[in-house]
Protein backbone atom coordinates (compact mmCIF):
# COMPACT_ATOMS: atom_id res chain seq x y z
CA UNK A 1 0.00 0.00 0.00
CA UNK A 2 2.78 2.36 0.88
CA UNK A 3 4.36 1.67 -2.46
CA UNK A 4 1.21 2.58 -4.26
CA UNK A 5 0.96 5.77 -2.29
CA UNK A 6 4.40 6.90 -3.31
CA UNK A 7 4.14 5.77 -6.89
CA UNK A 8 1.01 7.78 -7.44
CA UNK A 9 2.61 10.88 -6.07
CA UNK A 10 0.21 13.75 -5.72
CA UNK A 11 -2.90 11.72 -6.18
CA UNK A 12 -2.03 9.48 -3.32
CA UNK A 13 -0.88 12.35 -1.21
CA UNK A 14 -4.14 14.13 -1.69
CA UNK A 15 -5.99 10.96 -0.97
CA UNK A 16 -4.01 10.45 2.19
CA UNK A 17 -4.82 13.98 3.24
CA UNK A 18 -8.48 13.31 2.74
CA UNK A 19 -8.35 10.00 4.54
CA UNK A 20 -8.99 11.56 7.90
CA UNK A 21 -12.35 12.70 6.68
CA UNK A 22 -13.31 9.64 4.71
CA UNK A 23 -16.38 9.31 6.86
CA UNK A 24 -17.58 12.57 5.40
CA UNK A 25 -17.97 11.36 1.82
CA UNK A 26 -21.06 13.27 1.27
CA UNK A 27 -23.64 11.94 -1.17
CA UNK A 28 -24.51 8.72 0.50
CA UNK A 29 -24.05 8.99 4.20
CA UNK A 30 -27.05 6.79 4.59
CA UNK A 31 -26.71 3.84 2.23
CA UNK A 32 -25.60 4.06 -1.36
CA UNK A 33 -27.41 6.43 -3.72
CA UNK A 34 -28.45 5.13 -7.14
CA UNK A 35 -25.63 7.09 -8.75
CA UNK A 36 -23.18 4.84 -6.98
CA UNK A 37 -24.46 1.79 -8.82
CA UNK A 38 -24.49 3.56 -12.17
CA UNK A 39 -20.94 4.83 -11.69
CA UNK A 40 -19.75 1.47 -10.40
CA UNK A 41 -21.16 -0.15 -13.53
CA UNK A 42 -19.42 2.40 -15.76
CA UNK A 43 -16.19 1.88 -13.88
CA UNK A 44 -16.43 -1.89 -14.24
CA UNK A 45 -17.14 -1.61 -17.97
CA UNK A 46 -14.19 0.72 -18.35
CA UNK A 47 -11.84 -1.71 -16.63
CA UNK A 48 -13.17 -4.62 -18.68
CA UNK A 49 -12.67 -2.64 -21.89
CA UNK A 50 -9.22 -1.61 -20.68
CA UNK A 51 -7.98 -5.10 -19.99
CA UNK A 52 -10.25 -7.28 -22.15
CA UNK A 53 -8.59 -6.71 -25.52
CA UNK A 54 -5.10 -7.03 -24.05
CA UNK A 55 -5.94 -10.27 -22.34
CA UNK A 56 -7.45 -11.64 -25.52
CA UNK A 57 -4.25 -11.13 -27.49
CA UNK A 58 -2.18 -12.68 -24.72
CA UNK A 59 -4.42 -15.73 -25.01
CA UNK A 60 -4.31 -15.70 -28.80
CA UNK A 61 -0.52 -15.56 -28.81
CA UNK A 62 -0.58 -19.15 -27.55
CA UNK A 63 -2.64 -20.06 -30.63
CA UNK A 64 -1.90 -23.35 -32.36
CA UNK A 65 0.00 -23.32 -35.65
CA UNK A 66 -3.27 -23.83 -37.51
CA UNK A 67 -4.90 -20.93 -35.71
CA UNK A 68 -5.35 -17.42 -37.01
CA UNK A 69 -5.61 -13.87 -35.77
CA UNK A 70 -9.03 -14.34 -34.20
CA UNK A 71 -10.80 -16.67 -31.85
CA UNK A 72 -11.49 -19.55 -31.57
CA UNK A 73 -8.27 -21.05 -30.25
CA UNK A 74 -7.35 -24.06 -32.32
CA UNK A 75 -5.11 -25.47 -29.61
CA UNK A 76 -2.28 -24.36 -27.38
CA UNK A 77 1.30 -23.95 -28.51
CA UNK A 78 4.36 -21.76 -28.24
CA UNK A 79 4.73 -21.86 -31.99
CA UNK A 80 4.32 -18.12 -32.55
CA UNK A 81 6.86 -17.23 -29.90
CA UNK A 82 9.28 -19.56 -31.59
CA UNK A 83 8.38 -18.06 -34.94
CA UNK A 84 9.00 -14.61 -33.56
CA UNK A 85 12.60 -15.27 -32.69
CA UNK A 86 13.56 -17.51 -35.62
CA UNK A 87 11.72 -16.36 -38.71
CA UNK A 88 13.53 -13.92 -40.93
CA UNK A 89 10.18 -12.70 -42.13
CA UNK A 90 9.47 -10.98 -38.83
CA UNK A 91 12.71 -9.07 -38.95
CA UNK A 92 15.24 -8.43 -36.24
CA UNK A 93 13.09 -8.76 -33.14
CA UNK A 94 15.87 -9.82 -30.83
CA UNK A 95 18.23 -7.04 -31.90
CA UNK A 96 15.58 -4.35 -31.70
CA UNK A 97 14.46 -5.60 -28.32
CA UNK A 98 18.04 -5.39 -27.15
CA UNK A 99 18.43 -1.84 -28.42
CA UNK A 100 15.14 -0.71 -26.92
CA UNK A 101 16.14 -1.94 -23.47
CA UNK A 102 19.55 -0.27 -23.69
CA UNK A 103 18.04 2.95 -25.00
CA UNK A 104 15.35 2.97 -22.33
CA UNK A 105 18.02 2.40 -19.69
CA UNK A 106 20.01 5.40 -20.95
CA UNK A 107 16.90 7.55 -21.16
CA UNK A 108 15.91 6.55 -17.62
CA UNK A 109 19.21 7.52 -16.06
CA UNK A 110 19.40 10.83 -17.89
CA UNK A 111 15.74 11.63 -17.21
CA UNK A 112 16.10 11.04 -13.47
CA UNK A 113 19.24 13.13 -13.12
CA UNK A 114 18.15 16.01 -15.34
CA UNK A 115 14.58 16.13 -13.99
CA UNK A 116 15.88 16.11 -10.44
CA UNK A 117 18.20 19.04 -11.10
CA UNK A 118 15.48 20.94 -12.96
CA UNK A 119 13.07 20.21 -10.12
CA UNK A 120 15.57 21.73 -7.66
CA UNK A 121 15.88 24.83 -9.83
CA UNK A 122 12.13 25.26 -10.24
CA UNK A 123 11.47 25.33 -6.51
CA UNK A 124 11.79 29.07 -6.53
CA UNK A 125 11.12 31.68 -9.10
CA UNK A 126 14.04 32.90 -11.11
CA UNK A 127 14.65 35.09 -14.10
CA UNK A 128 13.26 33.34 -17.18
CA UNK A 129 11.54 30.48 -15.39
CA UNK A 130 8.25 30.95 -17.25
CA UNK A 131 10.00 30.83 -20.63
CA UNK A 132 11.64 27.54 -19.74
CA UNK A 133 8.40 26.17 -18.38
CA UNK A 134 6.57 26.89 -21.63
CA UNK A 135 9.53 25.59 -23.61
CA UNK A 136 9.02 22.32 -21.76
CA UNK A 137 5.28 22.28 -22.36
CA UNK A 138 5.96 22.98 -26.04
CA UNK A 139 8.36 20.08 -26.25
CA UNK A 140 5.78 17.85 -24.57
CA UNK A 141 2.87 18.66 -26.87
CA UNK A 142 4.63 19.19 -30.21
CA UNK A 143 3.82 16.48 -32.77
CA UNK A 144 6.47 13.82 -32.24
CA UNK A 145 6.85 12.86 -35.86
CA UNK A 146 7.50 16.47 -36.86
CA UNK A 147 10.20 16.86 -34.23
CA UNK A 148 11.66 13.52 -35.24
CA UNK A 149 11.91 14.59 -38.85
CA UNK A 150 13.33 17.97 -37.84
CA UNK A 151 15.98 16.17 -35.82
CA UNK A 152 16.71 13.83 -38.73
CA UNK A 153 17.09 16.76 -41.11
CA UNK A 154 19.24 18.64 -38.61
CA UNK A 155 21.62 15.71 -38.33
CA UNK A 156 21.62 15.41 -42.08
CA UNK A 157 22.49 19.08 -42.58
CA UNK A 158 25.23 18.87 -39.98
CA UNK A 159 26.62 15.82 -41.74
CA UNK A 160 25.98 13.53 -38.75
CA UNK A 161 24.73 9.97 -38.89
CA UNK A 162 21.42 9.36 -37.14
CA UNK A 163 21.57 6.44 -34.71
CA UNK A 164 19.47 5.14 -31.88
CA UNK A 165 22.07 6.14 -29.28
CA UNK A 166 22.48 9.71 -30.54
CA UNK A 167 19.59 11.29 -32.42
CA UNK A 168 16.89 8.91 -31.16
CA UNK A 169 18.18 9.27 -27.61
CA UNK A 170 17.90 13.04 -27.84
CA UNK A 171 14.52 12.93 -29.55
CA UNK A 172 13.14 10.66 -26.84
CA UNK A 173 14.59 12.86 -24.10
CA UNK A 174 12.76 15.87 -25.55
CA UNK A 175 9.60 13.96 -24.59
CA UNK A 176 10.57 12.13 -21.38
CA UNK A 177 12.25 15.13 -19.75
CA UNK A 178 9.24 17.47 -19.70
CA UNK A 179 7.22 14.56 -18.36
CA UNK A 180 9.85 13.82 -15.75
CA UNK A 181 10.09 17.46 -14.67
CA UNK A 182 6.30 17.68 -14.29
CA UNK A 183 6.33 14.57 -12.10
CA UNK A 184 9.24 16.10 -10.20
CA UNK A 185 7.15 19.23 -9.57
CA UNK A 186 4.49 17.13 -7.93
CA UNK A 187 7.09 15.22 -5.93
CA UNK A 188 8.85 18.40 -4.82
CA UNK A 189 5.65 20.04 -3.71
CA UNK A 190 5.64 17.62 -0.80
CA UNK A 191 9.19 18.48 0.24
CA UNK A 192 9.37 20.68 3.32
CA UNK A 193 11.96 23.41 2.84
CA UNK A 194 12.65 23.41 6.56
CA UNK A 195 14.44 20.05 6.16
CA UNK A 196 16.94 21.73 3.92
CA UNK A 197 17.38 24.66 6.28
CA UNK A 198 17.78 22.30 9.21
CA UNK A 199 20.56 20.49 7.36
CA UNK A 200 22.29 23.77 6.63
CA UNK A 201 21.84 24.84 10.22
CA UNK A 202 23.54 21.66 11.36
CA UNK A 203 26.51 22.40 9.15
CA UNK A 204 25.81 20.37 6.01
CA UNK A 205 27.29 21.65 2.77
CA UNK A 206 24.88 22.06 -0.18
CA UNK A 207 26.17 18.79 -1.63
CA UNK A 208 25.75 16.97 1.71
CA UNK A 209 22.23 18.37 1.96
CA UNK A 210 21.36 16.96 -1.46
CA UNK A 211 23.02 13.61 -0.76
CA UNK A 212 21.94 13.01 2.82
CA UNK A 213 18.59 14.78 2.99
CA UNK A 214 16.96 15.66 -0.33
CA UNK A 215 17.71 12.51 -2.33
CA UNK A 216 16.80 10.00 0.41
CA UNK A 217 13.56 11.82 1.21
CA UNK A 218 12.61 12.10 -2.45
CA UNK A 219 13.78 8.58 -3.34
CA UNK A 220 10.31 7.12 -3.95
CA UNK A 221 9.46 10.05 -6.21
CA UNK A 222 12.71 9.60 -8.12
CA UNK A 223 11.88 5.95 -8.70
CA UNK A 224 8.52 7.08 -10.08
CA UNK A 225 10.35 9.43 -12.48
CA UNK A 226 12.57 6.53 -13.52
CA UNK A 227 9.52 4.37 -14.16
CA UNK A 228 8.08 7.10 -16.38
CA UNK A 229 11.37 7.54 -18.19
CA UNK A 230 11.74 3.86 -18.90
CA UNK A 231 8.25 3.10 -20.12
CA UNK A 232 7.89 6.29 -22.15
CA UNK A 233 11.13 5.49 -23.94
CA UNK A 234 10.43 1.78 -24.28
CA UNK A 235 7.14 2.53 -26.07
CA UNK A 236 8.21 5.65 -27.93
CA UNK A 237 7.40 5.55 -31.60
CA UNK A 238 6.75 8.85 -33.34
CA UNK A 239 9.95 10.66 -32.36
CA UNK A 240 12.10 7.59 -32.93
CA UNK A 241 10.77 6.72 -36.40
CA UNK A 242 12.99 9.18 -38.28
CA UNK A 243 15.86 9.36 -35.85
CA UNK A 244 16.88 5.81 -35.09
CA UNK A 245 19.05 5.44 -38.17
CA UNK A 246 19.40 2.10 -39.88
CA UNK A 247 18.62 -0.05 -36.85
CA UNK A 248 15.12 -0.40 -35.43
CA UNK A 249 13.91 -0.13 -31.88
CA UNK A 250 11.20 -2.49 -30.71
CA UNK A 251 8.16 -0.22 -31.32
CA UNK A 252 9.44 0.42 -34.84
CA UNK A 253 9.77 -3.31 -35.31
CA UNK A 254 6.21 -3.82 -34.12
CA UNK A 255 5.07 -1.06 -36.44
CA UNK A 256 6.57 -2.72 -39.46
CA UNK A 257 5.11 -6.02 -38.32
CA UNK A 258 1.61 -4.57 -38.10
CA UNK A 259 1.99 -3.59 -41.73
CA UNK A 260 3.47 -6.89 -42.97
CA UNK A 261 2.81 -9.71 -40.58
CA UNK A 262 -0.63 -11.21 -40.35
CA UNK A 263 0.07 -14.08 -38.02
CA UNK A 264 -0.25 -14.47 -34.28
CA UNK A 265 3.49 -13.82 -33.91
CA UNK A 266 2.40 -10.22 -33.72
CA UNK A 267 0.43 -11.13 -30.62
CA UNK A 268 3.35 -13.14 -29.30
CA UNK A 269 5.47 -10.02 -29.56
CA UNK A 270 2.76 -8.11 -27.72
CA UNK A 271 2.84 -10.67 -24.95
CA UNK A 272 6.62 -10.51 -24.68
CA UNK A 273 6.77 -6.70 -24.52
CA UNK A 274 3.98 -6.61 -21.99
CA UNK A 275 5.84 -9.07 -19.79
CA UNK A 276 8.85 -6.75 -19.94
CA UNK A 277 6.62 -3.76 -19.08
CA UNK A 278 5.19 -5.58 -16.11
CA UNK A 279 8.66 -6.58 -14.96
CA UNK A 280 9.69 -2.93 -15.05
CA UNK A 281 6.56 -1.84 -13.18
CA UNK A 282 7.25 -4.60 -10.67
CA UNK A 283 10.85 -3.51 -10.20
CA UNK A 284 9.81 0.13 -9.87
CA UNK A 285 7.00 -0.40 -7.39
CA UNK A 286 9.01 -3.10 -5.63
CA UNK A 287 11.94 -0.79 -5.03
CA UNK A 288 9.62 1.91 -3.72
CA UNK A 289 8.17 -0.63 -1.30
CA UNK A 290 11.65 -1.72 -0.33
CA UNK A 291 12.66 1.85 0.50
CA UNK A 292 9.56 2.27 2.61
CA UNK A 293 10.03 -1.12 4.29
CA UNK A 294 13.63 -0.38 5.17
CA UNK A 295 12.54 2.85 6.76
CA UNK A 296 9.80 1.12 8.67
CA UNK A 297 12.23 -1.58 9.79
CA UNK A 298 14.66 1.05 10.99
CA UNK A 299 11.84 2.20 13.19
CA UNK A 300 10.62 -1.22 14.22
CA UNK A 301 13.82 -2.07 16.08
CA UNK A 302 12.91 0.35 18.83
CA UNK A 303 9.57 -1.22 19.65
Amino acid sequence: MTMAKEALGPAAAARRRSRSRQGALAPGRKGRPWTFYVLAAIFTLYVVALYGPMISIYILSFQDIRGGLVFPMKGLSLHWFNDLFTQVRTGDVKGSFDRSIKLAGLVTVITVVVSFLAGLAFRRRFFGDTVIFYLMIGSLVAPGLVLGIGTGLLFNWLGLETAWYTSALGAQLSWTLPFGVLVMFAVMSRFNKAWEEAARDLGATPWQTIRLVIIPILAPGLVAVALFGFTLSYDEFARTLQTSGSLNTLPLEIWSMTLNVTSPSLYALGTVTTIVSFLIIGIGLGSITLIQKRRARGGAAGH
Binding site: V47, P53, A118, A186
Partner: protein, 287 residues
Protein backbone atom coordinates in the same frame (compact mmCIF):
# COMPACT_ATOMS: atom_id res chain seq x y z
CA UNK B 1 23.37 37.46 -3.75
CA UNK B 2 20.09 37.25 -5.62
CA UNK B 3 22.06 37.19 -8.86
CA UNK B 4 23.90 34.15 -7.58
CA UNK B 5 20.58 32.51 -6.82
CA UNK B 6 19.37 33.06 -10.39
CA UNK B 7 22.64 31.70 -11.72
CA UNK B 8 22.38 28.59 -9.54
CA UNK B 9 18.89 27.94 -10.88
CA UNK B 10 20.14 28.28 -14.43
CA UNK B 11 23.07 25.99 -13.67
CA UNK B 12 20.67 23.30 -12.45
CA UNK B 13 18.57 23.81 -15.57
CA UNK B 14 21.42 23.73 -18.03
CA UNK B 15 21.26 19.94 -18.62
CA UNK B 16 17.59 20.31 -19.51
CA UNK B 17 18.44 23.05 -21.98
CA UNK B 18 21.29 21.00 -23.42
CA UNK B 19 18.59 18.51 -24.47
CA UNK B 20 15.70 20.81 -25.33
CA UNK B 21 17.63 23.22 -27.53
CA UNK B 22 19.15 20.71 -29.97
CA UNK B 23 16.21 18.31 -29.88
CA UNK B 24 13.22 20.61 -29.70
CA UNK B 25 14.10 24.20 -30.60
CA UNK B 26 16.56 23.49 -33.41
CA UNK B 27 14.50 20.72 -35.10
CA UNK B 28 11.52 23.01 -35.14
CA UNK B 29 13.62 25.78 -36.65
CA UNK B 30 14.89 23.29 -39.23
CA UNK B 31 11.33 22.33 -40.18
CA UNK B 32 10.36 25.99 -40.28
CA UNK B 33 13.32 26.76 -42.55
CA UNK B 34 12.60 23.81 -44.82
CA UNK B 35 9.03 25.01 -45.23
CA UNK B 36 10.36 28.06 -47.10
CA UNK B 37 12.66 26.03 -49.31
CA UNK B 38 11.95 24.72 -52.74
CA UNK B 39 12.09 21.08 -53.73
CA UNK B 40 14.15 19.96 -56.69
CA UNK B 41 11.69 17.13 -57.21
CA UNK B 42 14.25 14.44 -56.34
CA UNK B 43 14.23 14.80 -52.60
CA UNK B 44 16.79 17.57 -52.53
CA UNK B 45 16.19 20.97 -51.02
CA UNK B 46 16.87 24.20 -52.82
CA UNK B 47 17.75 26.84 -50.22
CA UNK B 48 15.59 29.67 -51.52
CA UNK B 49 12.86 31.65 -49.90
CA UNK B 50 9.45 30.79 -51.23
CA UNK B 51 5.95 30.82 -49.87
CA UNK B 52 4.75 28.44 -52.53
CA UNK B 53 4.53 25.55 -50.06
CA UNK B 54 2.15 27.52 -47.88
CA UNK B 55 0.23 28.75 -50.90
CA UNK B 56 -0.24 25.17 -52.10
CA UNK B 57 -1.27 24.11 -48.64
CA UNK B 58 -3.91 26.76 -48.22
CA UNK B 59 -5.35 26.44 -51.69
CA UNK B 60 -5.62 22.68 -51.69
CA UNK B 61 -9.03 21.30 -50.79
CA UNK B 62 -7.19 18.23 -49.53
CA UNK B 63 -5.74 20.30 -46.70
CA UNK B 64 -9.13 21.33 -45.47
CA UNK B 65 -10.35 17.74 -45.56
CA UNK B 66 -7.29 16.56 -43.68
CA UNK B 67 -7.70 19.15 -40.99
CA UNK B 68 -11.40 18.45 -40.71
CA UNK B 69 -10.72 14.72 -40.39
CA UNK B 70 -8.10 15.31 -37.71
CA UNK B 71 -10.33 17.79 -35.94
CA UNK B 72 -13.19 15.28 -36.02
CA UNK B 73 -11.08 12.61 -34.35
CA UNK B 74 -9.70 15.12 -31.86
CA UNK B 75 -13.11 16.40 -30.82
CA UNK B 76 -14.71 12.93 -30.62
CA UNK B 77 -11.82 11.47 -28.66
CA UNK B 78 -11.67 14.47 -26.36
CA UNK B 79 -15.40 14.32 -25.72
CA UNK B 80 -15.62 10.60 -24.98
CA UNK B 81 -12.43 10.42 -22.96
CA UNK B 82 -13.52 13.47 -20.94
CA UNK B 83 -16.93 12.02 -20.11
CA UNK B 84 -15.54 8.60 -19.31
CA UNK B 85 -12.51 9.94 -17.46
CA UNK B 86 -14.62 12.35 -15.43
CA UNK B 87 -17.07 9.65 -14.39
CA UNK B 88 -14.33 7.20 -13.47
CA UNK B 89 -12.43 9.85 -11.50
CA UNK B 90 -15.63 10.95 -9.78
CA UNK B 91 -16.41 7.37 -8.82
CA UNK B 92 -12.93 6.87 -7.39
CA UNK B 93 -12.80 10.19 -5.57
CA UNK B 94 -16.30 10.38 -4.15
CA UNK B 95 -17.81 6.93 -4.04
CA UNK B 96 -15.00 4.62 -2.99
CA UNK B 97 -14.96 4.99 0.77
CA UNK B 98 -12.10 2.68 1.61
CA UNK B 99 -8.88 4.58 0.78
CA UNK B 100 -6.92 1.36 0.30
CA UNK B 101 -9.45 0.10 -2.20
CA UNK B 102 -9.37 3.52 -3.85
CA UNK B 103 -5.63 3.34 -4.40
CA UNK B 104 -5.96 -0.22 -5.66
CA UNK B 105 -8.64 0.71 -8.18
CA UNK B 106 -6.67 3.77 -9.24
CA UNK B 107 -3.61 1.59 -9.87
CA UNK B 108 -5.80 -0.79 -11.83
CA UNK B 109 -6.66 2.07 -14.17
CA UNK B 110 -3.06 3.24 -14.55
CA UNK B 111 -1.23 -0.04 -15.13
CA UNK B 112 -2.02 -0.27 -18.89
CA UNK B 113 -0.46 3.17 -19.29
CA UNK B 114 2.90 1.57 -18.60
CA UNK B 115 2.48 -0.98 -21.39
CA UNK B 116 2.95 -0.52 -25.12
CA UNK B 117 0.38 1.67 -26.85
CA UNK B 118 0.83 -0.10 -30.14
CA UNK B 119 0.12 -3.47 -28.60
CA UNK B 120 -2.93 -2.10 -26.86
CA UNK B 121 -4.19 -0.83 -30.17
CA UNK B 122 -3.54 -4.06 -32.02
CA UNK B 123 -5.38 -5.89 -29.30
CA UNK B 124 -8.66 -4.58 -30.65
CA UNK B 125 -8.23 -6.52 -33.87
CA UNK B 126 -9.37 -9.93 -32.56
CA UNK B 127 -12.34 -8.24 -30.94
CA UNK B 128 -13.60 -5.85 -33.58
CA UNK B 129 -12.67 -7.77 -36.76
CA UNK B 130 -15.08 -9.33 -39.18
CA UNK B 131 -14.58 -12.66 -37.44
CA UNK B 132 -13.90 -10.98 -34.13
CA UNK B 133 -15.48 -11.73 -30.78
CA UNK B 134 -18.06 -8.97 -30.92
CA UNK B 135 -19.37 -9.92 -34.36
CA UNK B 136 -19.43 -13.59 -33.39
CA UNK B 137 -21.34 -12.83 -30.25
CA UNK B 138 -23.87 -10.64 -32.05
CA UNK B 139 -24.35 -13.28 -34.74
CA UNK B 140 -24.89 -15.98 -32.16
CA UNK B 141 -27.42 -13.86 -30.36
CA UNK B 142 -29.18 -13.39 -33.63
CA UNK B 143 -29.03 -9.62 -33.38
CA UNK B 144 -27.35 -9.38 -36.75
CA UNK B 145 -27.20 -11.71 -39.73
CA UNK B 146 -24.11 -10.37 -41.43
CA UNK B 147 -20.89 -9.45 -39.60
CA UNK B 148 -20.64 -5.71 -39.01
CA UNK B 149 -17.83 -4.32 -41.16
CA UNK B 150 -17.93 -0.96 -39.51
CA UNK B 151 -16.32 -2.17 -36.30
CA UNK B 152 -12.77 -2.56 -37.52
CA UNK B 153 -10.90 -0.45 -40.05
CA UNK B 154 -13.27 2.44 -39.73
CA UNK B 155 -13.60 5.78 -37.98
CA UNK B 156 -15.38 4.00 -35.15
CA UNK B 157 -12.35 1.80 -34.59
CA UNK B 158 -10.07 4.85 -34.62
CA UNK B 159 -12.10 6.60 -31.94
CA UNK B 160 -12.36 3.43 -29.86
CA UNK B 161 -8.60 2.95 -29.99
CA UNK B 162 -7.94 6.58 -29.06
CA UNK B 163 -10.37 6.60 -26.16
CA UNK B 164 -8.95 3.30 -24.99
CA UNK B 165 -5.44 4.74 -24.98
CA UNK B 166 -6.08 8.22 -23.72
CA UNK B 167 -8.81 8.11 -21.09
CA UNK B 168 -6.10 7.51 -18.51
CA UNK B 169 -4.72 10.98 -19.32
CA UNK B 170 -8.07 12.40 -18.21
CA UNK B 171 -8.54 10.19 -15.16
CA UNK B 172 -5.25 10.98 -13.44
CA UNK B 173 -5.36 14.80 -13.44
CA UNK B 174 -9.11 14.98 -12.83
CA UNK B 175 -8.84 12.52 -9.97
CA UNK B 176 -6.02 14.63 -8.57
CA UNK B 177 -8.13 17.78 -8.54
CA UNK B 178 -11.11 15.95 -7.11
CA UNK B 179 -9.09 14.36 -4.34
CA UNK B 180 -8.16 17.86 -3.23
CA UNK B 181 -11.78 18.93 -2.84
CA UNK B 182 -12.49 19.13 0.85
CA UNK B 183 -15.34 16.71 1.36
CA UNK B 184 -16.68 19.01 4.06
CA UNK B 185 -17.44 21.57 1.34
CA UNK B 186 -19.76 19.02 -0.23
CA UNK B 187 -21.32 18.30 3.14
CA UNK B 188 -21.85 21.98 3.76
CA UNK B 189 -23.57 22.27 0.39
CA UNK B 190 -25.80 19.30 1.23
CA UNK B 191 -26.67 20.91 4.55
CA UNK B 192 -27.54 24.08 2.69
CA UNK B 193 -30.01 22.05 0.66
CA UNK B 194 -28.09 21.65 -2.59
CA UNK B 195 -29.21 18.85 -4.87
CA UNK B 196 -26.82 16.29 -6.31
CA UNK B 197 -26.94 18.19 -9.59
CA UNK B 198 -26.15 21.48 -7.82
CA UNK B 199 -23.17 19.92 -6.14
CA UNK B 200 -21.89 18.62 -9.46
CA UNK B 201 -22.51 21.91 -11.24
CA UNK B 202 -21.43 24.34 -8.54
CA UNK B 203 -18.70 22.49 -6.66
CA UNK B 204 -17.26 19.42 -8.34
CA UNK B 205 -16.95 20.67 -11.91
CA UNK B 206 -15.54 24.13 -11.10
CA UNK B 207 -13.07 22.64 -8.64
CA UNK B 208 -11.95 19.96 -11.13
CA UNK B 209 -11.34 22.55 -13.84
CA UNK B 210 -7.57 22.39 -13.64
CA UNK B 211 -7.58 18.61 -13.95
CA UNK B 212 -9.91 18.79 -16.92
CA UNK B 213 -7.65 21.36 -18.57
CA UNK B 214 -4.52 19.32 -17.98
CA UNK B 215 -6.17 16.14 -19.28
CA UNK B 216 -7.48 17.99 -22.33
CA UNK B 217 -3.99 19.23 -23.15
CA UNK B 218 -2.64 15.70 -23.16
CA UNK B 219 -5.50 14.23 -25.18
CA UNK B 220 -5.68 17.02 -27.76
CA UNK B 221 -1.94 17.17 -28.34
CA UNK B 222 -1.59 13.40 -28.63
CA UNK B 223 -4.49 12.95 -31.06
CA UNK B 224 -3.49 15.90 -33.23
CA UNK B 225 0.11 14.73 -33.37
CA UNK B 226 -0.71 11.11 -34.08
CA UNK B 227 -0.94 9.29 -37.37
CA UNK B 228 -0.31 5.74 -36.34
CA UNK B 229 -3.69 4.89 -34.84
CA UNK B 230 -5.54 6.49 -37.74
CA UNK B 231 -3.45 4.60 -40.25
CA UNK B 232 -3.80 1.18 -38.65
CA UNK B 233 -7.29 1.34 -37.20
CA UNK B 234 -8.96 2.98 -40.16
CA UNK B 235 -7.35 0.45 -42.48
CA UNK B 236 -6.16 3.30 -44.64
CA UNK B 237 -9.68 4.64 -44.98
CA UNK B 238 -9.06 7.83 -43.04
CA UNK B 239 -6.20 10.26 -43.25
CA UNK B 240 -4.76 12.68 -40.76
CA UNK B 241 -2.59 15.74 -40.98
CA UNK B 242 0.45 14.01 -39.58
CA UNK B 243 -0.31 10.94 -41.69
CA UNK B 244 -0.21 13.06 -44.84
CA UNK B 245 2.96 14.65 -43.55
CA UNK B 246 4.48 11.22 -43.22
CA UNK B 247 3.40 10.29 -46.76
CA UNK B 248 5.02 13.46 -48.07
CA UNK B 249 8.21 12.63 -46.26
CA UNK B 250 8.31 9.12 -47.67
CA UNK B 251 8.11 10.53 -51.18
CA UNK B 252 10.75 13.09 -50.19
CA UNK B 253 8.46 16.10 -50.49
CA UNK B 254 10.21 17.82 -47.59
CA UNK B 255 9.22 21.45 -48.19
CA UNK B 256 5.49 20.88 -48.53
CA UNK B 257 5.55 18.44 -45.61
CA UNK B 258 7.39 21.01 -43.54
CA UNK B 259 4.86 23.72 -44.35
CA UNK B 260 2.05 21.43 -43.29
CA UNK B 261 3.92 20.55 -40.10
CA UNK B 262 4.45 24.21 -39.23
CA UNK B 263 0.78 25.00 -39.72
CA UNK B 264 -0.24 22.02 -37.61
CA UNK B 265 2.19 22.86 -34.83
CA UNK B 266 1.06 26.47 -34.74
CA UNK B 267 -2.59 25.40 -34.67
CA UNK B 268 -1.84 22.97 -31.87
CA UNK B 269 0.09 25.56 -29.86
CA UNK B 270 -2.75 28.05 -30.22
CA UNK B 271 -5.21 25.46 -28.99
CA UNK B 272 -3.01 24.49 -26.04
CA UNK B 273 -2.40 28.17 -25.33
CA UNK B 274 -6.15 28.73 -25.13
CA UNK B 275 -6.51 25.87 -22.66
CA UNK B 276 -3.57 27.15 -20.62
CA UNK B 277 -5.19 30.54 -20.33
CA UNK B 278 -7.99 29.03 -18.30
CA UNK B 279 -5.68 27.55 -15.69
CA UNK B 280 -2.22 28.19 -14.25
CA UNK B 281 -1.01 24.62 -14.55
CA UNK B 282 2.39 25.34 -13.05
CA UNK B 283 0.72 26.48 -9.85
CA UNK B 284 -1.68 23.56 -10.03
CA UNK B 285 1.08 20.98 -10.27
CA UNK B 286 3.30 22.45 -7.59
CA UNK B 287 0.46 23.06 -5.20
Amino acid sequence: MTLRRHLTSWLFLSPLLVVLIPFFVLPFIVVLTASFFDSDGFGGLLPTFTLVNYANLFTSSLTLNLYLATLKFTVLTWFFSLILGFLVAYFLAFHVRNPLLGIGLFLLCTVPFWTSNIIRMISWIPLLGKEGLINMALLKLGLIHEPLEILLFSSVAVVIAYVHQLTIFMIVPIFNSMARIDKRVVEAALDAGASRLDIMRLIVIPMSKSGIALGSIFVVSIVMGDFFVVKVMSGGGSASVVGAFYEDISVLQYPSAAASAVVLTVALMVLIGLILRTVDIRREITR
